[in-house]
Symmetry: C2
Subunit: 257 residues, 2 copies
DNA sequence: CGGGGTTGTCTAGATAAATAGACAACTTGA
DNA sequence: TCAAGTTGTCTATTTATCTAGACAACCCCG
């Protein structure tokens, strides 16, 4: 995801230290994760030895070990006594975002296995900004919380809002079908398009970390999106939090033809 | 950027603790930043008192104070003895990404003031993946590092690659014009389009934190993009790191007409 | 079959972060 | 003016993190 000047694994500046609010081993772990996610270290590659890492980052070997232990707990690397620490693999999924973004079919080759699970649904007065975007007259909306997993990994957590008058039974349809597209079709809507998407990033909250099986302080990619009918009538407002360490958003631009 | 169940500022779960690699005050600071960035706390609003925050997060008052001090150092809040701590303001910019993404004109209303500064430029053998995307035959490429600021704030850091044969003088043109669009026009290219954009997020490296004036451990939004001629011939490969706390990416979808 | 190099584990000590309590300085509203 | 409530500052103590060194267990190659 990033280039680095100079040789991939050398010339590393010592970690920022003391007073940052981040422990040394955490910062080292994140740096190593960069090398793995960024493709400078591939599955099967051996990491630098603990002594080399300790010297490079200017810390004790035990501190470097703790960084490796954190990555090992995530399943990103595997240590073998006597021989070294190796990258086990990294599954970064591409989530496609475009005019016809679909939750269950956008995860690349393995997309077929993506499934949606409904956590809960409530009828409520939508927050004012949501009501405005959905064009709600009386603010009554159905809010549904869902999670999505693929290939045994938690991918994202979403909050959906639908117009209660237009789609009173959307929650049960979502539960039954496990798909937004199918649930909308069951409500008589055969096609819809993505009107707008805004992307941000921040640290995960405690509950998001729990749902997505992330370590504390992990990063989430946050998208806020509006789906509409082809004629522009708002259907669904949607906030999705993706586990940034597992997902990249692949933005589809219309072709110039 | 996120909704929270229940009342905006109550029902907060205690911070994840001890062993996470994140100090308590850092996690609290990030939670408070969420309330500000997310619009639950507006400029001029008073934060809960230090005692309330300490109790809510299950920490000592001194720890809560340290979180506030971190936000104050960023200029996000301001403490006044005897009266409280107040939100000074938060400027989140929208960076538009679409078919005709332009670096100097995409920052919303205030976009006109965005300026690009060239840090350095070198001629090098492009990394293999970059060479492949640019369709380089002999891998020789011009790499340019730039920063972009707007309204007195650092917005992003970018790494550009151009085909050396096609655009030998792009670096000097960039320096002179301060704009990719203008530099390309000076090279006889009047129009270009965005072919692909991939978005991720991760912690900032030490050098990125320095260039973007971020605290250690801040988050960057990372986009990898390819610009081409309207007929699809690759022009520029581009990796941009945005300060996530100041920028949201606004994705433009083609209209269904 | 060595022997150098690697990870795993233990002990001990030094440094940093968080807790605990107290009180001063200041603001606000009754 | 006064009292309650707020932030600022200080000291002391406890807890967590990092450092330091040593050695065992194990792998791999010559």
């Amino acid at each position: 995801m990033n280039q680095r000047q100079g040789h991939p694994l050398t010339d590393r500046a010592p970690v920022a230290r003391s007073g940052s609010g981040y422990s040394a081993w955490r910062l080292i772990a994140e740096e190593l994760r960069l090398d793995i996610d960024g493709g400078r270290l591939h599955a099967g590659d051996r990491l630098p030895t603990e002594n080399v890492l300790a010297e490079r980052f200017g810390v004790n070997r035990h501190t470097a070990r703790q960084a490796i232990a954190a990555l090992a707990e995530e399943g990103l690397v595997e240590s073998r006594r006597g021989s070294g620490t190796f990258v086990t693999g990294h599954a970064v999924r591409l989530h496609r975002i475009g005019l016809r973004t679909r939750m269950t079919s956008s995860l690349g080759d393995e997309g077929a296995s993506a499934t949606i699970h409904v956590l809960n649904s409530v009828v409520e007065d939508a927050p004012s900004d949501v009501a405005r975007r959905l064009g709600l007259e009386f603010r009554r909306a159905v809010r549904v919380e869902t999670t999505r997993s693929a290939g045994g990994q938690q991918i994202s957590v979403s909050t959906h809002w639908f117009d209660l008058e237009r789609l009173p039974d959307i929650a049960t349809a979502l539960r039954r079908t496990g798909s937004v597209t199918a649930a909308l079709r069951a409500s008589g809507i055969d096609d819809y398009v993505r009107a707008s998407t805004v992307v941000g990033a921040r640290h995960a909250t405690a509950s998001e970390s729990e749902l997505l099986l992330l370590g504390p302080g992990a990063i989430v990619l946050v998208t806020e999106a509006l789906d509409t009918l082809p004629d522009g009538v708002p259907l669904q407002y949607l906030i999705t939090r993706f586990a940034a360490q597992r997902v990249r958003l692949d933005i589809e631009h219309a072709r110039p033809d």
